[in-house]
């Protein structure tokens, strides 16, 4: 399973942020955009065009599932999306990969620093 997922890695920033934003709770499109902005502290802004383009892809790959609208929501045009178990697996794999990258980077930077000093 992990080998299968590995061929999708590394994830594009948009995909990573969308998966990450859905990791906590089900969100509608606008909610995803806001969540992405919050997570990246406003540094990464996702436009709806990019968002839905990625969602289309993610739904097709079965990483994200569409829930339809919620009658309780104020705007009936909104649809909610949920991370599937596959999506969660991909996100975990990507996180692990990134962790390895970060770890590697840190170790290199720590080695480098004394030399410079």
């Amino acid at each position: 399973m992990n080998e299968d997922l590995d061929r999708f890695l590394p994830l594009s920033p948009a995909t990573l942020h969308i998966l990450l934003s859905l990791a906590g709770e089900d969100l509608h499109g606008y909610g995803i955009m806001q969540e992405v902005a919050r997570q990246s502290e406003g540094k990464y802004k996702l436009g709806p065009g990019t968002l839905y383009d990625n969602l289309q892809k993610l739904i097709q790959r079965d990483w994200v599932k569409e829930l339809g609208n919620r009658p309780s929501d104020d705007d009936p045009r909104r649809r909610y999306y949920r991370l599937t178990s596959v999506g969660r697996g991909v996100l975990s794999a990507e996180t692990a990969r990134l962790a390895a990258v970060v770890r590697e980077a840190r170790s290199r930077l720590q080695i480098a620093k004394p030399r410079r000093a």
């Binding site: 709806p48 839905y52 909104r78």
Partner: protein, 532 residues
Amino acid sequence: MLRHLYRCALRLHPPGFRKRFGAEMLSIFDQSKEKRASLRLLLDVAMSLSRQWLLRSEFWGETPAAPAPQPALDGVPSFCTIDSFHPSPAAFVPGLVLSLAIFSLTGIAIKHSWIHVLRIRIPEAQLETPQWIPETTAAPQVGLSGSGQESPALASSESTAALVSPPTAETPKESQSASNPQNPQRRAQSLSNSAKQSATAIAESKTQPETTAVSSTVSGSPAAVSAHNWKLDAAEQQLVIDGAIQNLQKYYVDPSAAQRIAAVLLAHKEHSDYSAITDRQVFANLLTRQIDAAGRDKYIVVVNTTSAVPDRPALPFSQEVARYRKQMAESNCTFEKVQILPHNIGYLKFNSFPDVSVCGEVAAAAMKKLNGTDAIIFDLRDNLGGNARMVAFLATYLFDQPTHLNDFYNRGDNNRFESWTLAPVPGNRLTDKPAFVLTSASTFSAAEAFAYDLKMLKRVTLVGETTSGRGHMGAPHSIDDHFMIRIPGILVTNPISKTNWEGKGVEPDVKVNAVDALATAEKLALSSLQKK
């Protein structure tokens, strides 16, 4: 405004994407309050548009995943639509305007297109023959005139009709007025007219066998009369007057005369001069007279087609061609006499200028027979005209190089073309021989062109009477189901005189009565031979 643009851009997305996410994207747009944010979204949707079309072809046809269905309320019918999009009623207005605009543009494009697939030039280029000849279908003449270039091709339909009648000394002027039993078509027309005027079934049934007896080709007339026997009313009078004026303004060779005629007709209408007329033939005749009085052109004719047109059922094109060929074969292409007179003077009498593609060989054979003569006489006294290419074809024998005969200007389509003699005929020995052309008051149209052009080139001596004076070529234009108007629409200009013989006729060099013309020409030919 921005929202409208945004919606338009959304609609342009591939259907799969649009149906799935369009509404949501619009809802996101609706959440943005600031103008700057809206502009950014607009940019975003534009990029999305190109991305979806260029890079996401695998999703184009995707159908939306069925969203969780809304629970149907009890007693409320639920509908399922394939596409949630419905045009708003307001969208019909721009839709209508757009359709009309496209329709008009297409029409204009067709009208001004340089590819005139549908244009049939031939009827425009008919040298006029007497007007009593009922209009025949012009279309078949297209083929008969051959794949000729711009050459004014000819009045074959008219000459065809002319050929039906035996060659008589009848003049076009005489023939406008009344009856000539020798012409079956014309007789048929007058018969059917009388049938119409009597307006009773009995009169018609009497007419029918008689008409049929005259010519089997006219048997359609009485039926057509009975089918169109409704009275002329004021509305149709108005329509016919307007149609006549419009056609004159568009096609008539003299625009200022067309204006004058229009003013006169409208004045008559204004004075209610037509209010008592309920008979179409009477109305057509009256209009023709008034147009002649105002425009001084007796060749503009309003024709009541109710009685005149259905001379015979329209034949398929190939049959028309076959019919024409048969007529020409039976009449030797109207080449009546090809003789060598005493003192080796050639004499050629022919009564029309038939189509070159059909009669070129007959004409060439006639000229070959006369090739050894010392002088040549063309007898056009009974010639009712026809095909301008035949004019050039025969004139070719009198010149040792291609010679400019005439210029034509078609006012309707603002088109100019020229008529020239052809390349010299190998072995021809007539180019320097004295030539004479015999004319009468009934020499008409293309025959006048032949006489006039050669006179201007000082190549022939004209002997006889002043010709009838038909200088413009004309064509019929339909006004409605019952009327059409024949309008001289092609101006013929001789390159030497810069004018033509319209209305004046062609003046002979030696003026004698038509009956004496041959003897006079023979004497002249002999004396010119003796001088040599």
